[in-house]
């Protein structure tokens, strides 16, 4: 059984300009102990999908199963139980911490809500802070006294409080400087090997995803275009968008950067209010044919454990 199963999940927002189908029929599985990288450009719906799994945005259709249990019909109490299994960390750790709560209180909050006793809570907070590499006196201090990297550690400590099975990481290192980013990535990997926690790692940064993910899902305008093992995707990207995305990502090695063939993708993401009919990528795709303008491709197995949504793969 998958830890997380998404079946045709849909999220839509009604705006003044019309309906935005931010997540438009996504099906995806995440196994126990796995890090699944979810990549795509801004507006592709990757963060919305992460929030949908936490029930932080209303789901318009489809099923979200955590350890086989559909979370849609859960009542408040059952949902609290589900959230012990699934936690989330955010891009801006400052925005996700209460500035008027001490770090100790913020980290203890999930424990208090789960009914832990005071001394057990205090002990657990000490342990959590140690795990994420913060000094013990951090608990009396306030978020503004910490740097961005340390705040992200606080967010991670809070997410770990109830020993979740899955942590949804929404651009967790995007706001951090290079050296601090590496510290946080290493911490996430250490915690994974120590506790067997799984990650849904949402990021626009392909080199970070290549480093951390076991499998990768590529998203574009609410749809999954390609899902597969990290090495398969990087060695042999099948979908033309995946190929373009990988070709566009800068490589921190001048010789490799010069050696690779670079076809720069033309145009920009279409407005999600008014996506092109058929395949949403047809307006930028170098392989687009008439069929792509009328028929939306389904995600299907294309060999090697990879799935792709393209008529010509």
């Amino acid at each position: 059984m998958s830890l997380l199963s998404l079946r045709d999940v849909r999220v839509q927002f009604n705006t003044a300009g019309g309906v935005v189908r931010a997540v438009n029929g996504v099906s995806l599985d995440l196994a126990v102990g796995e890090t699944l990288g979810l990549v795509g450009e801004s507006g592709c719906g990757k963060s919305t999908l992460g929030k949908a799994i936490m029930k932080l945005v209303p789901v318009a259709g489809g099923e979200i199963l955590v350890e086989g249990v559909d979370i849609a019909p859960l009542n408040r109490e059952q949902l609290t139980n589900m959230r012990r299994k699934v936690q989330m960390i955010f891009q801006d750790p400052y925005g996700s911490l209460n500035p008027r709560s001490t770090v100790g209180r913020s980290v203890a909050q999930p424990l208090v809500l789960a009914g832990w006793k005071a001394d057990a809570t205090a002990e657990r907070v000490e342990t959590l802070l140690r795990w994420v590499g913060l000094p013990s006196d951090a608990k009396q201090r306030y978020p503004h006294e910490f740097s961005g990297g340390q705040r992200q550690r606080i967010g991670i400590a809070r997410a770990l409080a109830l020993s979740p099975k899955l942590i949804i990481c929404d651009e967790p290192v995007s706001a951090l400087d290079v050296s601090v980013r590496a510290q946080v990535i290493n911490l996430l990997e250490d915690l994974k090997s120590q506790f067997g926690v799984s990650y849904l790692f949402i990021s626009h940064d392909l080199s970070v995803v290549e480093h951390i993910a076991d499998r990768v899902a590529v998203m574009y305008l609410g749809m999954l275009f390609e899902v597969g093992g990290r090495d398969q995707i990087w060695r042999e990207p099948r979908h033309p968008y995946t190929r373009a995305l990988l070709a566009a990502a800068p490589i921190a090695n001048p010789k490799l950067a010069r050696a690779r063939q670079r076809t720069v993708l033309q145009g920009e993401l279409p407005s999600p209010l008014n996506p092109p009919p058929g395949c949403p990528f047809n307006s930028r795709c170098p392989m687009a044919q008439d069929r792509c303008r009328v028929e939306k491709p389904a995600l299907r197995a294309v060999g090697n454990g990879v799935q792709a949504a393209c008529h010509f793969v």
Binding site: G149, S179, Q183, L246, A249, A252, R262, L265
Partner: protein, 327 residues
């Protein structure tokens, strides 16, 4: 302007922030040259002084608190540091073009694209309004604006981030400047649009032979765009090398750390990223010796009391590190 002078030569530039918490040396003795057609990347983490260096070069420092307290910025051989602001108005946009990170806030929200480009042209050239409008259209075509004719009448909010950045680039190159300063020009853009803008900048630079300073925190972008790289830490240049030398054989422990901390797809995969412990010290609490000493894996006694000067261990290379000097 002498014919043989370099487009840009910075000598011992010092910029200090005068704050209530004391004086902070944000740029502490930066020297740097950029030849015509060359791209020099200025790299470092937040607070290393790279953006304040750019603002110093353009004389756009927020004063107070920031002021140039020493050094020269020679533009085509002429030191512009002592020039009055009126003289700078004639230089910015004409001899130096600038591109900033956030394209939307660099544009006037209540003027059309055409009006903004025409204004640049009419300020710095002899063109009349009619000619300037024709030129504005040409420039938009040149920077690859999709549907350029129609975009002339657009306001910035009607354009995407990538299109706004193209407008900024059109304005920056409108008067064929000899120096272009790009401060994190693609950081706010999506990766496919970033690739478009980087390719555009490279092409424009090659065509016009501009000298370019490219400020970025992203080593991937450095590897893709730079000829030469200057690594800054806590207001000082700690290493300078050609882009190939720097990535192949970084000398300063900070550079080694930055490269190790950056995942490189397609290269040999490291199990673990090499992180640099700690963080960049605040400018008002710099250690007495080398600013990197508290985080440095090769720290020696000497590093705690003395600041290492830049030395040249090989032709074309500079490094400010006692440990790197020995190897």
């Amino acid at each position: 302007m002498s014919g043989s002078a370099l487009p840009l030569e910075i000598v011992d530039l010092r910029t200090t922030l005068f704050t209530r918490r004391g004086e902070m040396k944000a740029v502490d003795g930066l020297s740097l040259t950029v030849a015509a057609g060359e791209t020099v990347a200025l790299v470092g983490e937040s607070g290393c002084g790279k953006s304040l260096s750019a603002l110093s070069i353009m004389r756009l420092l927020p004063d107070p608190p920031a002021r140039i307290v020493g050094g020269q910025v020679k533009l085509n051989g002429r030191d512009i540091v002592p020039l009055p602001e009126e003289a700078m108005l004639g230089i910015r946009g004409k001899e130096i073009g600038m591109i900033f990170q956030d394209p939307l806030s660099s544009l006037n929200p209540v003027a059309t694209v055409e009006k903004q480009i025409v204004e640049v042209l009419m300020t710095h050239t002899e063109l009349g309004r009619g000619q300037a409008r024709v030129r504005a259209h040409e420039l938009l075509e040149l920077v690859g604006m999709p549907d350029a004719a129609r975009r002339l009448d657009a306001y910035p909010h009607q354009l995407s981030g990538g299109m706004c950045q193209r407008v900024i680039i059109a304005m920056a190159i409108a008067c064929s400047p000899s120096v272009l300063i790009a401060d994190e020009p693609t950081t706010a853009l999506d990766v496919t649009v970033q690739a478009q803008v980087l390719a555009l900048l490279k092409k424009l630079q090659a065509d016009a032979g501009m000298a370019m300073i490219f400020i970025t925190h992203d080593l991937g972008v450095v590897a893709e765009t730079a000829d030469r790289v200057v690594v800054m830490y806590a207001g000082r240049k700690v290493e300078e090398a050609s882009v190939d030398d720097l990535f192949e054989n970084p000398l300063h422990p900070y550079t080694v750390g930055l490269i190790g901390a950056t995942p490189t797809p397609g290269a040999e995969r490291a199990e673990r990223l090499a992180d640099i412990p700690g963080m960049v010290p605040p400018l008002n609490a710099l250690p007495q010796g080398c600013a990197f000493a508290p985080r440095c894996p090769r720290v020696m006694d000497r590093c705690l009391t003395q600041k290492p000067a830049l030395t040249a261990p090989a032709p074309g290379r500079l490094v400010a590190c006692f440990a790197a000097e020995r190897t």
